[in-house]
């Protein structure tokens, strides 16, 4: 690609909770943005443009909230842009922000994504604003059952993902759920929500926001902390449903990661990528994405989970931050994945740092597992040499 190099030099997020009653929506996004600016060594005046992402406006009941959030995000007199691509929106918000720098439109761009789910009824909105919503778990459970039948995976794989991600989340000061005492037994005994998904295999409903500051090569040199280089970005969409589509291992997911790998020169994802933040709102999506993104062979993804390869100390750590299973402010969840990948290659992930991470990928998906946003970030512009 002919665009110029783009660096992440600031990452910020809120403390995620079931209900952040202490702040307004404006206060929530500002909390994340201020942390990102502090990390970047910048002030509001340094930012040239703001990109805002969130899932449906029906979640909070505010139409086009970027209009009233312009003030809180210091956007007055600047370009302000609003992205909405369902669950993948956090990822898209990061990608659009990075492209503004890559295209040379701006020197410093702030991407912010949020959801304040406690202000509305997410379950109602997930059903399209109509009654009788089956929710996301109800929509994805049939795909998960099909995956289990195809792969022959043992039933405890989902429980293991739930435990692993919550133990990672317990190391993340910003995570909504910090379940340091979670066990396989507790997951198994928790109420069945959407067979085979138990309560503890499902994501929480969170208030939260995430912010990322992008800049160019020159800006990266001046940044107080190490940059993460955006090595590749991709977005793919496919129809919700039709006879030729495989919702268990969607072609869009496969194509999206392949595009990332081609841009970076990744030929052996499992060996060359140091860690991954994948959008796993329900436990079984970990092995499903490992396969769809060619990190494991078809039918083999569950073996990586089962063997502990995806644990923080495994050979391919997945969801070091605790993932969507530990915090899920829906519109922000994608950008949280992208931001964690950046923190990892910057060596700034604290207690959930993968030692010496040089190349990380992040993914977000949305709607009926049909929208995909991914990026790869590196500690250098050429982490594979």
């Amino acid at each position: 690609m002919s665009h110029q190099p783009v660096a992440v030099v600031g990452v910020g997020q809120t403390h995620h909770k079931r209900r952040r009653g202490d702040v307004s929506i404006a206060g929530l996004v500002r909390e994340a943005a201020e942390r990102a600016l502090e990390d970047a060594g910048m002030d509001w005046g340094d930012i040239d443009a703001v990109v805002l992402g969130k899932a449906p406006d029906l979640f909070e009941g505010v139409m086009k909230p970027e209009m009233f959030l312009a003030d809180a995000l210091g956007a007055n007199g600047k370009p302000m842009f609003r992205v909405h691509t369902a669950g993948s929106v956090g990822g898209s918000t990061g990608i659009v922000g990075s492209h503004l720098v890559g295209a040379g439109r701006h020197k410093r761009v702030l991407s912010v994504a949020f959801e304040k789910q406690s202000e509305g009824n997410a379950q109602f909105a997930l059903g399209g604003g109509k009654g009788g919503s089956i929710g996301a778990g109800g929509a994805f459970a049939p795909f998960i059952r099909a995956y289990i039948r195809r792969s022959g995976a043992p039933e405890d794989v989902g429980w293991k993902v739930a435990v692993k991600d919550r133990l990672n989340g317990a190391k993340n000061p910003y995570a909504h759920l910090k379940l340091a005492d979670i066990t396989i037994e507790k997951v198994k005994e928790s109420p069945m929500m959407w067979d085979p998904l138990h309560f503890l295999e499902s994501c929480p409903s969170s208030d939260g926001a995430c912010a990322v500051v992008f800049t160019d090569e020159d800006g990266a040199k001046k940044a107080p902390n190490p940059p993460a280089w955006v090595l590749a970005t991709a977005m793919k969409s496919e129809p919700s449903t039709f006879a030729g589509r495989d919702p268990v291992s969607p072609k869009g997911a496969h194509m999206c990661s392949q595009e990332i790998y081609d841009q970076v020169g990744i030929t052996n994802p499992r060996e060359q990528i140091d860690c991954a933040e994948l959008y796993v709102p329900f436990s079984w999506y970990e092995p499903m994405w490992l396969e769809a993104h060619d990190i494991a062979a078809r039918g083999e993804g569950w073996k990586m989970t089962d063997s502990g390869a995806t644990a923080l100390d495994g050979d391919f750590p997945v969801n070091m931050s605790g993932g969507v299973l530990s915090s899920n402010p829906i519109g922000a969840s994608g950008l949280l994945r992208f931001a964690e990948a950046a923190l990892q290659v910057r060596g700034m992930a604290g207690d959930h740092q993968v030692p010496d991470a040089k190349l990380a990928i992040a993914q977000a998906y949305g709607a009926n597992a049909q929208f995909y946003a991914m990026w790869a970030v590196g500690s250098t512009q050429k982490p594979l040499g």
């Binding site: 139409m63 009233f68 007199g77």
Partner: protein, 355 residues
């Protein structure tokens, strides 16, 4: 100036029927419009590098309304695609930036809006600050009456000036096959009409419109393969202002002036300007903020007063400005989009044809 591989042009477009109410869904409006735009550039869907649309859940009345619109693109095999909760002209902006990444050379941007589903006077109250303004029931008629009144009190315009804007747009719209409202109107008769919110009269408001529009963009040399006379986007910028109307001078549009500067509007004469002024008097504010004089023909299409499919009206301005170059031989035109209460956010694009 010779074009480079980083120059991007509008090379094709389509506009759906713009009507008070269609029984079609957004997806049904989009399918022939998006495919029609692609066909107008001599392409098929498989030739398109990136697709992006603008629409609004609250207009269609359901969350994730844009998800089913993917069906209008023929998104199989899966495509590079995005969506903005903004007017289609901002979708065009995302496509423009995406093309600048350099790996693709064609893109489609669309806007779709099914405005007939909702009552604007209740719907747009929830576009306001949810803690302070929405509970007041601050509806668009009241807010825009305040802005109009501020304009009158500033002495910059009279009610007669504004009625002349209405008469001129409706007369111009007689030649626009997409116009909902057009015809010859007497200014004195317009001024004799009752107020709905003083000083706003019904004819100062835009019609309620369902519709869709799509454009095809091409980068570099590819534009000449697809279009005899591409409309090059030589500048495009957008800016936002404080949300609270009380924090702004409502008689001017600072963000429009900023966006015009960013787009390089002042670098040459502008032959035609298509302004997104859904409330009649806003055209006068925009003319002044853009520094337009009598040398510029404003809204030969009849503008938003002729048809106003919200989320589409801005990208239609882009198409109308591009048509002046592609079909009418003009050299330099301007397209403008507004969003939010009392002109809070504005986008300006400059389009140019080759000599």
């Amino acid at each position: 100036m010779p074009r480079t591989e980083n120059d991007i042009a509008i090379v094709g477009y389509a506009i759906s029927p713009l009507v008070r109410r269609t029984e079609d869904t957004e997806t049904l409006m989009m399918l022939p419009t998006v495919q029609g735009a692609i066909k107008s550039a001599g392409l098929t869907k498989d030739d398109i590098g990136f697709t992006v649309s603008g629409s609004c859940d609250y207009l269609s009345g359901q969350a994730f309304s844009f998800v089913s619109n993917v069906d209008a693109y023929g998104a199989w095999p899966p495509i590079n695609e995005s969506h903005v909760e903004m007017d289609g002209s901002f979708a065009l902006y995302e496509a423009f930036v995406r093309l600048l990444q350099g790996d693709i050379d064609t893109a489609v941007a669309a806007g779709v809006g099914k405005n007939s589903n909702s009552d604007p006077s209740t719907l747009y109250t929830i576009e306001m600050d949810p803690y302070y303004l929405t509970p007041l029931g601050a509806d668009p008629w009241s807010l825009h009456a305040l802005q109009y009144q501020a304009l009158l009190e500033s002495g910059k315009a009279t009610e007669r000036d504004v009625a002349e804007v209405v008469a001129r747009n409706r007369a111009a719209a007689k030649d626009n096959i997409h116009a909902q409202v057009s015809g010859d109107f007497d200014v004195d008769e317009l001024l004799a009409a009752d107020y709905i919110r003083q000083p706003l009269r019904r004819h100062d408001l835009p019609p309620t419109t369902d519709g869709c529009a799509a454009v095809v963009l091409a980068r570099g040399k590819r534009a000449y393969d697809l279009c005899e006379r591409p409309a090059w986007i030589t500048g495009i910028d957008h800016r936002i202002e404080p949300h609270l109307p009380t924090l702004r001078d409502l008689t001017t549009s600072v963000s429009t002036t900023q966006a015009a500067k960013g787009a390089g509007a002042g670098d040459g004469p502008i032959e035609v300007a298509e302004l997104h002024a859904p409330f009649s008097y806003q055209e006068l504010i925009l003319r002044e903020s853009l520094g337009l004089d009598d040398q510029t023909l404003v809204n030969p299409s009849g503008g938003a007063l002729a048809a106003n499919p919200v989320m589409v009206t801005g990208i239609i301005r882009m198409i109308e400005a591009a048509r002046q170059i592609m079909e009418n031989g003009k050299r330099r035109t301007l397209a403008h989009t507004t969003s939010g209460p009392c002109l809070q956010q504005n986008l300006v694009a400059i389009l140019e044809g080759d000599a």
